[in-house]
């Protein structure tokens, strides 16, 4: 509709004006978007490492190595595990919180304003905060566990293999549940009240109403929330870096941590380029499929 009415005095300069406006942005995006891709493609077919600058063509050697690299696939698996555990918890908790704060409640606005704070804390800072909280001697978490169980505890949350996953997931869930909460609260507030009343009059119970009316109504927003959080979890780096740096060993190494270590600590330049390309390809498939289903805006 805008196109039909806006360029009324469409002379030559007017027609170019719209391209002139997008030009600078597209240029910057291409510079940072396309250049790396081309560069990765070139480097990944070479043999550059810390010790040798071998720019000759080595064929698909780096890509073949991708498939034999246990550590890479384990990192991918860890990333999937973090996502598969944290995302549902955040979703369900966020939804429960949204339900709790949906109706009238004294101080509701203040509660909401306070609950939002974790979302805007830098992830590296929240990772640092939780590492202080999880400290085996001077952190409050072991202290509280000691009170509850009756005897002092010195659990090594960031070192003990059985505890590192819960520790990271707690920090992650703490930071991002409010994100889910905010979005779902907005979505729930927009659910048609008359439909809920009609459903109550028809004698439908709470859960039946929830699954038949509320869930379909909030689904579009929920899908966006899942997409945004899913993509964020796929690139999970900061909280893991602050809490464990991928340790103990490589137990909590995510794909981002793995790539960082390969590229910036072990300097396997060409191989890292191949890994980065793999990540881009994997993610492009997901994003492409997701954007077809999810409407981010009208």
């Amino acid at each position: 509709m805008a196109q039909a009415t806006a360029p009324r005095q469409a002379d030559f300069t007017d027609r170019n004006f719209k391209y002139f406006l997008v030009g600078p942005s597209i240029f910057v995006l291409l510079l940072i978007g396309i250049f790396p891709l081309v560069y990765l493609l070139v480097v990944s077919f070479q043999g550059i490492t810390m010790t040798e600058v071998d720019t000759s063509f080595v064929g698909v050697r780096n890509f073949a190595h991708l498939f034999r690299d246990r550590r890479l696939w384990e990192a991918l698996l860890h990333t999937v595990i973090f996502t598969a555990i944290a995302l549902p918890i955040e979703l369900v908790l966020g939804l429960a919180l949204a339900q709790l704060f949906l109706d009238r409640l004294p101080g509701r606005q203040i509660f909401i304003a306070l609950l939002v704070l974790p979302v805007v804390v830098s992830p590296i800072v929240s990772g640092a905060t939780w590492s202080l909280m999880f400290d085996n001697r001077f952190g409050p978490i072991n202290q509280v566990i000691g009170w509850v169980t009756g005897s002092p505890r010195t659990l090594l949350w960031t070192i003990n293999p059985a505890l590192v996953y819960p520790a990271i997931i707690v920090a992650e869930v703490w930071q991002w549940t409010p994100f889910m909460f905010l979005l779902l609260l907005a979505a729930l507030a927009n659910v048609d009240k008359s439909q809920l009343e009609a459903s109550a009059i028809d004698g439908a119970g709470y859960w039946r109403t929830f699954f038949k009316i509320v869930l379909p109504a909030i689904w579009p927003v929920m899908a966006v929330a899942i997409l945004i959080r899913g993509l964020d979890l796929f690139r999970l780096f900061d909280i893991v870096w602050a809490l464990t740096k991928g340790g103990p060993g490589t137990m909590t190494e995510t794909i981002s941590v793995f790539t960082y270590v390969k590229g910036f600590q072990q300097f396997e330049t060409s191989y890292t380029a191949a890994v980065a390309l793999l990540i881009i390809v994997l993610l492009s498939v997901v994003v492409f499929a997701a954007l077809k289903r999810v409407r981010l805006a009208r």
Partner: protein, 277 residues
Amino acid sequence: MNDLHARQRVRLTLRLVAALGITVFFLFPIYWLFMISFKTADEIFSYPPKWYPGHLQFGNYAVLFKDGDAIAVWHSLVVAGGSTLIAMFLGTICAYSLARFKTGGEHLANWIISQRMVPPIAVVFPIFLLYVWLGWVDTYVGVILLYTAFNLPYVIWMMRGYILDIPLALEESALVDGCTRWQVIWRVVFPMCRAGLFATAIFTFVFAWNEFLFALVLTRTEVGTYTVQVTHYFGGQSNFWAKISAMSVLGTLPIFVAVAFMQRYLVRGISLGAVKG
């Protein structure tokens, strides 16, 4: 009737208690972080842990300023501020073109938003190699350019939504009155979406301010941001706890203040415009 009333009161009380408990849980880590920054070393390393400092003292902050570490907050400000200004200007005029002329159609808009979803680690690696070659590592130019590029899709996407919310009639009458295209943008569009511009700028600023991975790779001492500075205190001797918390508070407090003004736009801002809030 009385019975029903009593049950409602019990329900409300239970909800209030739950709300209080949950809020305490979500605020406690932030409280703990802030509180450590006011403790003395003895208080930080007392066992069992103390839940509040004996008295308010700012020694931990004074150390950061005396050692010059606090300059990292200034670096963050320059980098986040600079990239926000550039991204807002370029992004908004681009968004105007997308919204009003449907430039490039759906494909261009979708390509732009998909740029935001590329994992930073895959981008920063080749960018780092490029910057080494250009001599841009640890310079404002390099970091600001990358942050600008990374936030552009967000700005374009959000501003496109805000501009679509403005009625077209005003721009038309301005054109009829003899305004040039640029004057329409400056005098009609920008003022009309002032709130949206402001909200988007704040969020763009927060993203850049809080960013860690790019800064970790691309900055050293000259332009190292506060997020990187925080990690410099990790791991070593545990008496760095005071610095971790004080530096974190310096970086977090401004964000809290900014967001306090942004409550109305928060939902729209963090949902990429999908929820109008």
